[in-house]
């Protein structure tokens, strides 16, 4: 861990040299090694080739760090391969596109406005625990269509669902989430409503009614997949604008660049570093042999800085009109929650641009992931700032 107050808007490319030299990296993870695919085109090809690089391995194995030791429930549709995967996506996609509705966006705006107002009232605050976590949790009530008071429980869990203070997986902490979801499913059976639990209890996928275990799998994915990632994206955006306030002013002056700006920030931050797959047969990537039943990772963070695709990849450029980043994954398993995440960021960044004159950093503790030979800044453990309003 490091502590600093300058240069916090910079997120170095941890993979540049290895990507240029071999296109592959290696890391161990709980004695289940990972061959990391680093170039954008190679990552996209592997992501698309789900017959050879499968997601439907033992539950938890495609996640890095592996969750095999703490989870038996299969996350759905994330850990299911086509064609079964397609049936689940067909069911879930309309629900997860609800952030495009005006009513959803109006409710999200209220949450964002309140969060920013609270920030103005504080002399200083920790963006991670006092801004990004509450905002993410309250916004999640919209995605689940549950009451706002549920958010406090999720805020009380802290920033990591699966981890305690360090980076190690914490089975006891994960069980809090799993038990909570079990309870919520039982509650929805007794008191059906119009929340996601109730909707799933009355749904079919691939011609079969969803089981409780499958519903639990969808809910674990929804809780876990959109937690650290959204918190990182929010916190990192504020860190970026703290040292580049003219870019925030530009968005206020030219709101038509908002979408490009958000996509560029998402590319630059890559809030999720990588996701794994398990090889179903002996194969190769970049002339590197991959044995059957071993893991590869699709390293989104490296691919998003690939100089063969992106001009000046280490610069944040809001004029980047074509930006084929893969921060939300690629192909069949692209991120189910991407619409929700994008909507939060678009509305948040525009609101910050409208309201905030200055962001002063007081102290910052960067979150550096140790990934074998690589060390990558993915976000912050804490980031204390003050906001000055316009």
């Amino acid at each position: 861990m490091t502590s600093k107050v300058t240069g916090i808007s910079e997120f170095p490319d941890a993979f540049a040299q290895q990507r240029r030299v071999t296109g592959m990296g290696q890391m161990d993870d709980q004695n289940d090694p990972v061959n990391m695919i680093l170039g954008l085109k190679d990552v996209r090809k592997a992501a698309h080739n789900c017959a050879v690089f499968q997601s439907g391995a033992k539950p938890g194995r495609i996640v890095i760090p592996s969750e095999v030791a703490i989870r038996e429930t299969r996350q759905i549709p994330f850990e299911v391969d086509p064609p079964e995967h397609g049936g689940f996506r067909e069911l879930l996609n309309p629900w997860f596109k609800r952030p495009l509705d005006e009513c959803y966006q109006a409710r999200l705006q209220t949450i964002i406005d309140e969060t920013i107002e609270n920030a103005f009232k504080a002399e200083s605050f920790d963006v991670v625990s006092q801004f990004a976590l509450p905002l993410q949790s309250k916004a999640l009530t919209l995605l689940l269509n549950t009451s706002m008071d549920k958010a406090q429980t999720w805020i009380d869990w802290g920033t990591h669902v699966f981890r305690s203070e360090g980076s190690d997986l914490d089975g006891d902490k994960a069980n809090i989430l799993y038990n909570y979801i079990d309870e919520q499913i039982e509650n929805a059976i007794l008191n059906p409503g119009d929340d996601l639990y109730s909707v799933l209890l009355n749904s079919e996928a691939n011609g079969k009614k969803l089981s409780k275990e499958e519903i639990k799998g969808v809910m674990i994915l929804t809780f876990a997949g959109g937690r650290d990632t959204v918190i990182n994206a929010i916190t990192n955006s504020i860190a970026y604008f703290s040292e580049n306030i003219s870019d925030l002013k530009r968005i206020d002056d030219q709101p038509e660049i908002l979408n490009r700006a958000v996509e560029e920030l998402i590319r630059y931050f890559s809030p999720l570093t990588q996701m794994g797959r398990v090889a179903t047969q002996d194969t190769s990537v970049c002339e590197h042999a991959i044995k059957a039943d071993t893991r590869v990772s699709l390293c989104w963070a490296s691919a998003n800085r690939d100089e063969k695709v992106f001009k000046d990849p280490n610069n944040v450029d809001f004029d980047r009109k074509v930006n084929p980043h893969i921060s939300f994954g690629f192909s069949h398993h692209n991120c189910l929650g991407a619409t929700h995440a994008r909507q939060i960021l678009r509305q948040l960044v525009l609101s910050l641009a409208n309201k905030v004159a200055q962001i002063e950093t007081i102290k910052a503790d960067e979150n550096i992931e140790k990934l074998g030979e690589f060390s990558r800044k993915v976000g912050f453990n804490s980031l204390h700032v003050s906001f000055k309003s316009k």
């Binding site: 085109k41 996209r44 090809k45 698309h48 596109k97 979408n259 490009r260 958000v262 996509e263 695709v309 980047r320 009109k321 074509v322 930006n323 084929p324 980043h325 893969i326 939300f328 690629f330 192909s331 692209n334 991407a338 619409t339 994008r342």
Partner: protein, 102 residues
Amino acid sequence: MAKVIFITKKNDAVEVEGDSGSLMELATANGVSGIDGDCGGVCSCATCHIYVAPNDFEKIGQPEEIESDMLELDDNVTQYSRLCCQIEVTEAIDGMTFVVAN
């Protein structure tokens, strides 16, 4: 002003018209099913895949490398595929019909 028709997967014909922006923006603004445009038009998501009529493809033009790399890995790609976020709405496309791929 350009008036174009989208044919959706359910074979619905949706006629829309516009004079600026991208063809993806025109489709999403009019709720054309199968055109999501998740990334807002930066060529990152491939959720705006269409087929151009063979007779019109030369007028529309070939995709740039980044777009064709995206299309290459789409299961439903054909030689007439384009991502409509990369096609501008101008009078040049007036009267064309586009088939939604997904």
